[in-house]
């Protein structure tokens, strides 16, 4: 499972990445999780199964959904509270649900 996260510069989402990786590892899940800046998404989206946006850039959601639709992958923005508390577990589950649906 490849989860791509994006925010303005890819910095604050990278905080969440470490927590998500920890959760994935603890549950024995094989996942590649990484964060990039919004302008870099085009160079990474081909390797992703799902794209998650930080809530602070959720105004980009309509554009990113279009990009996701072209590649056939789900795109959504992360729950603000899970984002703020760096809740890796919930965000991984959220990503799984998106891919599953």
């Amino acid at each position: 499972m490849n989860i791509l996260l994006c925010c303005a510069a890819g910095m604050s989402t990278s905080l969440l990445v470490t927590k998500m990786e920890a959760y994935a590892k603890a549950t024995g899940m094989k996942a590649k999780i990484w964060a990039v800046g919004a302008s870099d998404v085009n160079n990474h989206i081909d390797n992703a199964d799902v794209l998650l946006l930080g809530p602070q850039v959720r105004y980009m959601l309509p554009n990113m959904k279009k990009v996701g639709a072209e590649k056939g992958i789900p795109v959504d923005s992360i729950n603000p509270v899970h984002y703020g508390m760096c809740n890796g577990q919930e965000v991984v589950k959220f990503a799984q649900n998106l891919i599953g649906s």
Partner: protein
């Protein structure tokens, strides 16, 4: 609250998303970022050149010779001084990417168009004389840097627009099958490039003729001989005055933070408009520093580093309170998560975790504090207690107190940040106490429920 939320979702979000998604602003923001790593590297050398220790100059001169400064600043000339050139390429590249036309060719054509708009001469005052003479056969360095930034931006957008329109209308030279794709690709760019370059060429010829006919002089533009002069007069100077004032700085601070309390990345959304303006102001200070003149601008890009400490909202003081004084478990836990990123000016955990977003209580200090600090910093600089930012651009992740020193080249910059932190602390404290109390009450409430359930 729900009324407020729906106002936000229905009114603010569409505007923010329109602005952030606007092609040209997006290309501008993403393209100009290409200059940032270079400028930060240039800053490194600039800092070494102006270390505020008495006797430093003499010390360096005794080791490396009298020309040590000139030699040390070679990289500054190849970073700061070519920002317009790099930005032109970057913006054209990013815009072409959005239109899905070949970005490399579009970037190259834009750079060429930018140079067509630039007269190849510079003014030089020979030693021992007072009269400047025109020296030909040079690309003027001053116009490749911040002074040419606005021309570069406009030309990048203009040239890429023409470029993609012609390609999209399919007016291109087509190669017969069997010609290698990369060869035919180079021909695709040919017709649009000719049209772009001819248009800018005609504009330049037009301006020069108008100047010679003294037409521009009659309109009050006496010294405008090139597109650069006209854009400086009509765009860069008025924008600079607007943004360089205290009112301009307060409005910018307010807008950034109003967007943030809606949960939107304020500085990123406004970046397309503000980055070129603030970057120009920053570089004007850098040029003055190198020339040994008085620094002209208070409001620059690093000015806001002295203000937005620990990220927007000066939320670092709030996080420090969580770590030191929090009674509620939730506050303590958030403090643990947020403190390390906050030191490096990343505060999304606070903004979304506390949360500040849509929180009528925390919104107040989050918006008020940076506005107050903008005023205090401006006044302290205006009155000369604190030196102005000297054009050094520390990376935005530089921790507070260090960033103040780097931005001003003086310990007084750090002092200003400490003063600002104390003020911020005072503003946040009552709000922190109320917030922590709310959290504690909520935790007790849930504990009681758990207890009753257990029974």
């Amino acid at each position: 609250m729900s009324k407020y939320n729906s106002f936000l979702e229905n009114k603010v979000m569409p505007i923010a998303s329109k602005m952030a998604g606007q092609r040209h602003l997006l290309a501008l923001r993403d393209g100009i970022i290409l200059t940032m790593p270079l400028i930060i590297i240039g800053s490194l050398f600039l800092i070494l050149g102006f270390i505020p220790i008495p006797g430093y100059n003499e010390f360096m001169a005794s080791i490396f010779g009298d020309a040590w400064m000139t030699k040390l600043l070679y990289p500054v000339g190849a970073t700061y001084d070519i920002m317009a050139l790099i930005a032109t390429f970057g913006i054209a590249y990013r815009l072409a990417e959005q239109y899905k036309v070949d970005p490399l060719s579009a970037g190259a054509v834009a750079v060429s168009a930018f140079l067509i708009a630039t007269p190849y001469f510079t003014m030089f005052t020979p030693e021992g004389t007072e009269i400047a003479v025109q020296v030909g056969g040079v690309i003027p360095v001053t116009l490749m840097g911040s002074k040419g930034l606005f021309v570069g931006i406009l030309i990048a957008l203009f040239s890429t627009e023409i470029y993609r329109k012609i390609i999209q209308k399919n007016i291109v030279i087509k190669m017969p099958e069997g010609v290698p794709p990369s060869v035919s690709k180079s021909f695709v760019a040919l017709i649009p490039a000719v049209i772009v370059i001819s248009s800018v060429w005609l504009i330049r010829i037009g301006i020069e003729n108008l100047y010679h006919l003294n037409f521009l002089g009659k309109l009050g533009f006496t010294n405008t001989t090139s597109l650069h002069d006209i854009i400086t007069l009509l765009l860069s100077e008025p924008l600079g005055i607007l943004s360089g004032s205290l009112i301009g700085a307060i409005i910018y601070t307010l807008l950034v933070h109003l967007l943030w309390v809606c949960g939107l990345h304020g500085s990123s959304i406004l970046g397309g408009v503000m980055t070129p303006i603030l970057l120009t102001a920053t570089d004007q200070n850098r040029l003055a520093l190198q020339a040994g003149e008085e620094l002209p601008n208070i409001v620059t890009s690093p000015f806001f580093e002295l203000v937005f400490m620990g990220g927007s909202g000066v939320s670092i003081v709030f996080v420090v309170m969580m770590v030191l004084f929090a009674k509620s478990e939730q506050s303590k836990q958030l403090g643990k998560i947020a403190i390390a990123p906050s030191i490096f000016n990343i505060n999304e955990p606070v903004v979304f975790g506390a949360p500040v977003v849509m929180n009528p209580l925390l919104m107040i200090p989050f918006i008020l504090t940076p506005v107050v600090l903008t005023v205090t910093t401006y006044i302290m600089m205006k009155s000369g207690f604190i030196p102005l930012t000297n054009g050094t651009l520390p990376p935005w992740t530089t921790p507070p107190i260090i960033s103040g020193f780097l931005a001003t080249g003086s310990w007084k910059g750090s002092l200003m940040q400490i003063i600002n932190l104390v003020i911020a602390f005072a503003i946040y404290l009552p709000f922190f106490k109320m917030w922590d109390k709310q959290n504690t009450a909520m935790e007790k409430g849930t504990e009681n429920i758990n207890v009753t359930k257990a029974i």
